[in-house]
Amino acid sequence: MTNDELLALTEQERAEEEKYSHRIHICTGTGCVSSHSEKILETFQAEIKARGLEEKVKARQVGCMGLCAAGPIVSIQPDGLLYREMTPELVPAIMDSLGGEPFKDQLIDTNIPFFYRQEKNTLENAGLIDPERIEEYIAVGGYAAVVKALSEMTPAEVIQEVHTSGMRGRGGAGFKTGLKWSLVAKAAGDQKYLICNADEGDPGAFMDRSILESDPHRVLEGMVVAAYAVGASQGYIYVRAEYPLAIKRLKIAIKQAEKLGLLGQNICNTPFNFKIDLRLGAGAFVCGEETALMSSVSGNRGTPNPRPPFPAQSGINNCPTLINNVETFANIPGIITDGGKWFARIGTETSKGTKVFALTGKIKNTGLIEVPMGITLREIIYDIGGGIPDGHNLKAVQTGGPSGGCIPAEYLDATVDYESLKQLGSMMGSGGMIVIDDTSNMVDMARFFMKFSMEESCGKCIPCRVGTTMLYNLLGKFQAGQATRWDLKRLEELCDLVKNTSLCGLGQAAPNPIISTLRFFRQEYLDKLIDSEKTGETVE
């Protein structure tokens, strides 16, 4: 595929689009599918046929439009109307309204901060294109980055562009992507591997799933560019088996890209070869950790190994391996086509670009959002999220999942960037953002996360295997009002041990939910001590 061929395809696809006076987009992300959006799609198609409008109106599946709380969502293009909580029964009414006055009952006001305060980059096509058709991705400028990188840039130039962008890994830790790529590129070895980490295990986060379901080609494109930059010939997407829709769409996307010569042998008629295979995760949070992920990709128990050696030196089959997360790869096409400088203009000094968050919990506008780095938590929660429902008050925001922490309401004006979240005892994480109101107790919250970490501990190292269990049990003592000040001291000492001596990131971060709630909500722990222990501050 050359640039001209890409443009020709784009022209053809756009002409096809313009044939229709209206295009009806039905969200088929997992959230909306759960509320039967596929049935709505079928009903629209049947209705169009019944009315003899096949030439004028087209109904199609698209990816996530973000406002999951109001799903199933239907949008009417080119009018840009959005309808909430659609049902098959409402389809005739919507059809009647086409070209006339919008159907008021279900209309969503798009002039609210939820929409205009967001800045979509990795999600720019989500909800606009059919994720199962490569042509639609190409028509909105897709695969231009692959063509540009392969025909106009050297691998070193590609890496330089990623350096310039200042992009940091979106999987959680925030390692500089350009640096990671250059390490793999420099590593000696003929065979190199590339892995896309789509084992999104953080409970309450669905950013990666939405990207894969809504715009799978975007991720493939980022992977091809990365493979070219570091010299990898084999790639894997390690995706959760619990994401059947994402898997299905990735399989379709890989086939389509191979057919057009954008993947496989001699990509874009150059000598560059790159193959992508899927590997299905099987339900182990620890496999989000790089070395555990590689064990799993190789068909083993997903237990981590000490680093060094880092995957960049010795990964799959002891070859240099680049591992990035879905959202990281999804950012690459934009960096290549529009340039690293374009990317770097968004965000803060140290955190560039936009970040996708799954905004959930006690908040009005539950859903998937993409915001510029540097935005404040207040803007996210009160502007975009619409605030706390049912007259309750905000208590804390939890980010970083079981590895993160709870940020109390008084820090709402903190900005969302890697450093400031870390300073507040939490972390960026992969993008789960759970809003907690005043009905939740923080000891309960901490124990909820500790149960998760305990059950997800691989069992290899002692501090994590036994330590998380002991922490869970200790928190149980607090919940039952049986804890003493001595238990509180033990709790803190054990957090310190698990954090500093566990083998991998899962264990090292497992105490964070306790450490952060002890820091900001200590009184809630003290309130749960045995009565006789509540007075007096000293522990012998």
């Binding site: 128990r301 059950e455 069992g459 501090p463 295997r465 002991m470 001596t501 566990s502």
Partner: protein, 239 residues
């Protein structure tokens, strides 16, 4: 191989030492008679860095690294023991005692147990965590040996010696986290294992009384590990 081997100089507890290319901190420490505690590591089988007892501090970094799995680097200043490290080590040993039912008084390995000796050396006089008291069956189906999971610390020595030295890979772990358990074959009773060669290596590398010869009474199970360096030497010589 490298005709001009790189030698790395660094210090352990202030003592100047040197390491050949690829040698770990633990290996160098042993060559220099500097003791670093460990329960999972055993010379002759691979290092996995899982017991976390051999964690040492790189001076000035506050960061702990597993000495068994970290290759020495030029100029490193290693601290093998200080208040913080010692406290962590004691807590790790306590966690092990609390995890299963280690009742030394009635154990076949009493007096010959690495865990018991480690507790004594580190000054662990009691366990401050609440015991978990899990319930395990003893598997005595093998004609010569038996396994008592109550004493197992999941160090994986038996798994590795069986895989790496004997080549049978009869043992592995099942489940995960706190439910991890060493198994033979498809969690088959040991005596019915199709792959076990009954060589007994696992019994002798086991640091505790979890694996023992049958017929041994309390404190009678002495472990013999002399075979290991010899087998490793033979194997490497054969390459």
């Amino acid at each position: 191989m490298n005709s001009n081997p790189v030698v790395r100089s660094f210090t352990i507890d202030g003592i100047q030492v040197s390491a050949a290319e690829g040698e770990t901190i633990l290996e160098v420490a042993r060559q220099n008679d500097i003791e670093i505690p460990t329960l999972c590591n055993l010379e002759g089988i691979s290092s996995t860095g899982q017991c976390r007892l051999c964690m040492v501090e790189v001076k000035g970094t506050n960061r702990l690294i597993p000495s068994c799995a970290t290759v020495a680097e030029e100029g490193m200043e290693i601290v093998t023991s200080n208040e913080r490290i010692d406290k962590y080590r004691r807590m790790i040993v306590e966690l092990l005692f609390a995890e299963r039912n280690h009742i030394c008084a009635v154990c076949v390995a009493n007096g010959h147990c690495d865990l018991q000796a480690m507790a004594q050396k580190l000054g662990v006089t009691h366990i401050e965590f609440d015991y978990l008291h899990p319930s395990f069956q003893v598997d005595a189906s093998h004609p010569k040996y038996e396994v008592d999971h109550n004493r197992c610390i999941l160090c994986g020595r038996c798994v590795r010696v069986c895989d790496e030295i004997e080549g049978a890979h009869t043992r592995d772990f099942r489940n995960r986290g706190i439910n991890t358990l060493v198994i033979t074959d498809f969690a088959t009773p040991w005596g019915e294992s199709q792959t076990c060669t009954s060589c007994g290596k696992c019994v002798h590398v086991c640091p505790t009384g979890a694996l023992a010869e049958k017929g041994k009474s309390v404190a009678e199970m002495q472990k013999r590990r002399q075979f290991l360096p010899y087998l490793v030497m033979r194997r490497e010589g054969a390459k």
